[in-house]
């Protein structure tokens, strides 16, 4: 087991793009090697060691590498981008694009996450013990496919456009969702335990379950009996008719 502990030397105002901070890049490396990894800081690159205190215990393969980030990193973007295995634990708030394009492994965030959490994720697991901002598990601007696999669990609230363009995988939100969750999705499952507004517009396929209150249900859905999931009976709607969709929307 290799454990790498990172903490910011001092809080940064200019954002850091930490797309190199993932177990794939850290596994088997010494403290010095990890400190030398380049990250973008504003419009220039600098070594990770200039910005972070780095501690390394042991040395192991990617699967057995764990990165622990202590403290607030709410101006550090793209942590865990492209990671394929291993584990990241963040004990603080985190900036945008955390876990983007993730293919495997596990990220746990004990704090809040900014927008684009797990966007275009293909595998692995993200657990957020806090609230998330916009576009959780969605696709980058202009793409037709967002999240394709893996699981995101949010133990708080999320803002608008949850799972936009989602094509596969699973999202579970224990709190409330904002406007237009599951917009334009084409596969996958989204469960919202709290409330949601205007869910699943332009959905082509996939399943959306809303356990709380649904506001402004779109008129482009056809009611189609009821369906029982885990012992709870929901009203079943099929659509979005506007997109010729066959998605399933289950609400109370």
């Amino acid at each position: 087991m290799q454990v790498v502990k990172l903490s910011l030397k001092k809080a940064n105002k200019i954002p850091i793009e930490a797309d190199n901070v993932n177990p794939d890049n850290f596994a088997g490396k010494t403290k010095e090697e990890i400190e030398a990894i380049l990250v973008w800081y504003g419009n220039g690159q600098c070594p990770l060691g200039d910005l972070f205190n780095v501690e390394v215990e042991g040395s192991d393969s990617v699967e057995n590498t764990k990165i622990v980030i202590e403290g607030d990193v709410s101006r550090v973007k793209r942590i865990g981008q492209d990671m394929s295995a291993g584990e990241i634990e963040i004990n603080g708030n985190v900036d945008m694009h955390c876990g983007s394009n993730m293919r495997g492994g596990k990220i746990t965030i004990n704090g809040d996450a900014d927008s684009w959490l797990g966007c275009e994720m293909k595998g692995g697991e993200i657990t957020l013990n806090g609230n998330a901002a916009y576009y959780v598990g969605s696709g980058y601007r202009g793409e037709s496919c967002g999240m394709r696999g893996g699981k995101i669990t949010v133990n708080g609230d999320v803002k608008d456009y949850l799972g936009e363009h989602m094509c596969g995988g699973e999202i579970l939100v224990k709190g409330n969702a904002g406007l237009l969750p599951a917009i334009s999705n084409n596969g996958g499952t989204i469960t919202i335990e709290g409330s949601a507004t205007m869910p699943a517009s332009e959905m082509k396929s996939g399943t959306v379950i809303i356990k709380g209150e649904t506001s402004d249900l779109l008129p482009s859905y056809k009611e189609d009996g009821t369906e029982e999931v885990d012992g709870i009976t929901y009203r079943k709607f099929v659509g979005d008719v506007n997109a010729g969709g066959k998605g399933v929307l289950l609400i109370k």
């Binding site: 980058y140 601007r141 202009g142 793409e143």
Partner: protein
């Protein structure tokens, strides 16, 4: 006075009939000269292949491409051709670059230069949007630029043709070229752009345009007559009716035949047909779709009044952008894709749709084959201009890949081996074993362009021509393009040297300098009496219909960087 001596180059210059001969090239003050003094800076080419700078005669690189940029923000991060696409941070010499099919303006300049190209012709400038095109030209470094102005569905044009006023029509074309600072007459789906304003299209050459009582055939003949009357350097540049429809090869040949009677006023073709790949389809529907290239190339082989370009397809993502509005509507519905649609007031329509060419789709595979069949079945390379109609058939950064298709039957076999039997049954490419040599490739990428645009100072290495030169890391005679296609592709992907006006702009595949290029436009002289009469008609149009005034419509000189005005004398 700056002098350069390129020693020991293997020069391939079809304009002079030079086929990979060991020669020295002398440059003084941006021009090719007979000899230079001994103070000249020496570049040792080491026997490598040298050609005139490449000339892309039909590309969408300024203007409408911007719509492609904003409906495809995801294109910014596509990196399918490393080194020539994707996100590249700025350096001391270059600005930041993004994109693949719709790169930013700087990337367009750098990447063409890396391929050894030094001149491009933007294929469609709507008069009304010409200012925007020139604003983009201004920000495309290194390259010399020019553009073709759209006239094919213009109200004033159709009225003059209906009312049989050829002199006023010629005066309007001259004014339109001046207003848009354009180089030639582009006709896109004649009449179709106007019909699209009513949600319709024209179905062929003799289908009247709604409310104008003229047919596409009359528009083509009228504009060709005006084009020759003004003695413009380029012939009419035609995107035929029925583009992208199975069975359209018949319309294409019919259009070509119609121009047999047009007498060119200069030493060039009387018709250029563009991206013929999209217009050489046989069959009656997408089910029995097959190649029409043999019929089209048969006709072209027997005719000597026309030239054409390919519109070769490259597998992968592309972005279609055209003034042919109804085609883009059909594309977006068929492919369930994003769609941008524009109405250019009294002038034309326009649309943009991204798409993906897959070798697994039999239609796409046949489209890919048709472009190559046209290039290989037409015997005379001087009739052919190599293009992908970038980015309609694919981005220009794939030219090196496409060159290997033309130069190597083995490479083609490799690609064809992935096709379905159904696709193979619908094409004739597997039976063609012709392989182009460097000489023929130079004709299709440089010499034809120089000739058809009447630009004697471009696309050749004659004494007096612009010193735009590409040196590729290939030694003719020591490389077999048929077998070593990977090597050829690599060499064409980044020149050893690209010189623009005698300045080294690319060295070993990296940008060395980014001078500003010129903008060419044509000023055709028209008698004052005819011009005054015509101005009255367009003043009425501006008062009654246009959303802008005439004074705000003209492109002023302030919009042009290093403008080059080419004067012609109209015959009235």
């Amino acid at each position: 006075m700056s002098e350069i001596l390129i020693k020991n180059a293997s020069v391939c210059d079809p304009a002079q009939g030079i086929n990979c001969e060991a020669m020295d090239l002398c440059i003084r003050d941006g021009k090719i000269v007979e000899s230079v003094s001994e103070n000249a800076k020496v570049i040792d080419a080491g026997g490598r292949l040298a050609m005139a700078g490449g000339f892309d005669g039909h590309t969408h690189s300024a203007g409408k491409i911007n719509v492609g940029r904003f409906i495809n923000p995801n294109d910014a991060r596509k990196n399918l051709v490393p080194g020539l696409s994707g996100q590249v941070a700025r350096t001391e010499k270059t600005r930041a670059q993004v994109g693949y099919n719709t790169p930013n303006t700087y990337a367009i300049g750098y990447r063409y230069a890396k391929l050894g190209y030094t001149t491009i012709c933007e294929a469609a400038i709507p008069l009304l949007a010409a200012r925007h095109t020139h604003e983009e030209f201004k920000e495309i470094p290194i390259l010399d630029k020019m553009g073709l102005s759209l006239f094919g569905s213009n109200w004033q044009v159709m009225e003059y043709i209906r009312d049989k006023e050829p002199e006023k029509l010629a005066a309007y074309i001259a004014w339109g070229l001046k207003a848009s600072r354009g180089y030639g007459v582009k006709i896109v789906n004649p009449g179709g752009g106007e019909a699209w304003g009513w949600g319709k299209n024209v179905s062929g050459l003799y289908d009247p345009v709604p409310n104008f009582d003229v047919t596409p055939a009359e528009i083509l003949m009228g504009l060709a007559e005006a084009n020759e009357r003004l003695q413009l350097p380029h012939s009419v540049h035609v995107h035929c009716n029925n583009l992208g429809k199975p069975g359209n090869y018949a319309t294409t040949i019919e259009t070509m035949k119609m121009f047999e009677k047009v007498k060119p006023s200069r030493d060039r073709q009387s018709l250029h047909v563009t991206h013929v790949q999209f217009n050489a389809y046989a069959g009656t529907s997408w089910r029995d779709f097959e190649t029409g290239a043999p019929m089209v190339s048969d006709y072209v082989n027997g005719a000597d009044h026309l030239t054409f370009d390919l519109g070769q397809v490259i597998f992968g993502p592309a972005v279609t952008m055209t003034a042919d509005g109804p085609v883009e509507y059909a594309n977006s519905r068929m492919l369930h894709e994003k769609w941008s649609n524009q109405d250019v007031e009294l002038e034309d329509a326009s649309g943009v749709v991204p798409l993906f060419y897959s070798p697994k789709s039999f239609v796409n595979a046949v489209q890919w084959a048709i472009g190559l069949e046209l290039a290989l079945l037409v015997k005379d390379p001087w009739k052919v201009m190599f293009t992908t109609d970038s980015p309609n058939g694919g981005s220009f950064v794939n030219y090196p890949e496409a060159f290997t298709y033309l130069m190597s039957a083995k490479k083609r076999e490799q690609v064809i081996s992935g096709f379905s039997q159904m696709a193979l049954d619908r094409m004739v490419l597997p039976g063609i074993d012709r392989e182009l040599d460097f000489y023929e490739l130079a004709v299709m990428t440089r010499s034809t362009q120089s000739k058809i645009y009447s630009m004697p100072e471009k696309g050749n290495l004659k004494v007096g021509s612009d010193a735009d030169i590409a040196i590729y890391d290939l030694i003719p005679g020591q490389v077999d393009p048929s077998a070593e296609h990977e090597k050829v592709k690599k060499a064409f992907s980044g020149t050893a040297y690209t010189l623009k006006d005698g300045e080294i702009v690319v060295k070993d595949g990296e940008i060395e300098a980014t001078p500003k290029g010129r903008v060419y436009w044509v000023n055709a002289k028209v008698p004052e009496t005819v011009d005054t009469a015509m101005q009255k008609d367009i003043d009425f149009k501006f008062k009654k219909y246009y959303t802008v005034s005439k004074s705000n419509y003209m492109v002023e000189d302030a919009y042009l960087t290093k403008p080059v005005e080419i004067d012609t004398e109209g015959v009235f």
